[in-house]
Symmetry: C2
Subunit: 442 residues, 2 copies
Amino acid sequence: VVIGGDAGGMSAASQARRRRADLEIVAFERGDYTSYSACGIPYWVGGVVDSRDRLIARTPEVHRERFDIDVRLRHEVEGIDLDKRTVAVGGTNEPFDHLVIATGAVPIRPDLPGIDAEGIYGIQTLNDGEAVRRALDEDRPQRAVVVGGGYIGLEMAEAFVNRGLQVALVDLNPQPMSTLDADMGALVADALEEIGVELHRNERVEGFETRDGRLTAVATSEHTFPADIVVLGLGSRPNSALARDAGIGVGVTGGIRTDLRMRTDAEHVWAAGDCVETFHRISRRAVAFALGTHANKQGRVAGINIGGGYATFRGVVGTAVSKICSVEVARTGLGEQEAERAGFDPVTVSVESSTRAGYFPGAAPITVKMIAERRSGRLLGAQIVGKEGAAKRIDVVATALWNEMTVHEIEGMDLSYAPPFSPVWDPVLIAARKAAEAVEQT
Amino acid sequence: VVIGGDAGGMSAASQARRRRADLEIVAFERGDYTSYSACGIPYWVGGVVDSRDRLIARTPEVHRERFDIDVRLRHEVEGIDLDKRTVAVGGTNEPFDHLVIATGAVPIRPDLPGIDAEGIYGIQTLNDGEAVRRALDEDRPQRAVVVGGGYIGLEMAEAFVNRGLQVALVDLNPQPMSTLDADMGALVADALEEIGVELHRNERVEGFETRDGRLTAVATSEHTFPADIVVLGLGSRPNSALARDAGIGVGVTGGIRTDLRMRTDAEHVWAAGDCVETFHRISRRAVAFALGTHANKQGRVAGINIGGGYATFRGVVGTAVSKICSVEVARTGLGEQEAERAGFDPVTVSVESSTRAGYFPGAAPITVKMIAERRSGRLLGAQIVGKEGAAKRIDVVATALWNEMTVHEIEGMDLSYAPPFSPVWDPVLIAARKAAEAVEQT
């Protein structure tokens, strides 16, 4: 039995099927869709992607016909009985030999006056995306307020601009994209303002004004913004209530605890995706990141193990990437303050370089910030903001982090060079070189 | 004293200067330019880059005024006397305390009938590039033959097409770009044929027909091609004659041997760039690759050491990248046959994927071939051919190779994902996953 029909759950199901034709596999999904790209929702809302169905990787029919997985939509599992090995769903008790919990994340929805007014949306599921699309098409809103400056908030701000709305973004932090250090976030802020997003930093939303149950304005610590539509982009937390209620171990992050093979502490119960916590290889702490790429990998690991194979999930280094307006934004490892909180004494450098040889058409600015440990020179993290061709370089840093390299080692690496792709010193190498110099001087 | 005014030599000179203001530094360059991007020449010839001067990173004046380096152009060093510590140049003997040999590479120029005819060019130096530009502008050639299907040959074939010429490419190998395995080279061949380059594979050039000392045709093992202009792209070998004549150690590759700090076996004599051989970290053999990025790094290492610092060059993994017509091409590590020759038993996989999420505008095909060692699963190399956004992914593989990772380790890595940048499984991860499966099955 699989609870949750998206990345984590369905990867587990299809991998288990691949290794064991004899298993009966049932997946319960409370929504209307399976295996879709939640990350693609803002692009569909904004019109960059033209059809909802293109976001769906595998429909219930495909799961059923190609993988012999019995997918039941609009079925919400209400409880897990570990002793009887059953789940309660739709008034009956479904027995299991193996259970996969892939219940995803719940969006953070603060308990503010007016929060339940019509016109206030989250962007968590494809159903949410549909609701926003419908509101845009039917209600023709003019003024949007986005609450929260994380990835989804910023992508939604851009989507609204693309749809012709006036957009204000209200963020509690000194700069949007607070997963970056503030100096790098400032570059993202510039890109947002360039397309006309009105940015309000260090501002707390205190409530929503309504008329006849419909949103009319957003009240913050500083302003009142008239608004026809609001999107909440305040992040999410692991949806682990079902597991916790069943007595399955949940960690300090609120995510379900698993071992390397994605086993929970209950026998024959596995978990994968946004509902679990995992291991941060640099801070060495438990973390919960809601990212489809982890969900896919973890689900695959669970499925292989259920199917009798051997696979492990070895943690994360905190890599993330996004395209916000004209800039590409990426990060991996620890930021400056995160490094300090983890107990490191960080040395940081920032370099401005070019995505291609300076003389080559299309060469565009790229800023790389790199963070290393004082004395040892060990790489701790990096952040990149730049134009086309900038962000994917973060994967080099992620790979270096994975291998616990020092910045001294990185500066000598044999990365590719040709004028259409890089200056003769790749920006990542320049950053490592400067970081190595900074480490030597401290 | 520095012999050679390009990447290796001038990086050494400026790094030494940075650490020691008191040094007298003289650099002898036999050509007309210093510190230019040789890799940019085909783009300038083809008109993608509009001015020769944009290829020059630092003019002699900059070296002189900003770095106090006495650059002497059109000065060819004729000999090195290790006992007296002098170099013979322009009829005098110039004394040195430290000598940097950065004499670059000599293009391979087979001793064929007619090879010295007017109309036959190499593409090695900026002077060569100027000669070809002049020929294109003044002689208005119609038919070009490119001999050799390596990076420079292919880039020149494209440049000639851009300039409106009919282009035939003659290559001894079964596929162009023989630094790739033939199956990947075939994808490059398709891209060349798409823009109208006439490809002749497995064909050997046997001589050049001339009239009044001017080229008229190229005779191969199979055909006679009328030609107004020929470019030789047959690769190069280390220009180590000066060093060898002075008794400095030269390796089996023909490159000058150095230690990690870029010291030759003669005291106070250093070497850097295309004239040296280096260590291949995967085959564990000496190799000589003529690449500006290595030259810059090696020169920098030599200069830091001359200046009293400590730096090392830790070898290469064989990374290279190029843009050929509509495709991006990259490789790192060992190819299938190279792996066999080095003694490995390789397992190879190829995967076709997409540069972005399939539904995201601009998603384009990418093929990744990955080579791993049987049994251990150790990564040995990879090759990538694809459209925009494909090639720079090779740096992830290069970083993984540098760290001697297995494909099993790679498949779990935390690489960045967002729809504008990658499918939820990055093509590199998919290739590693398939390679890991292939290793398990053998």
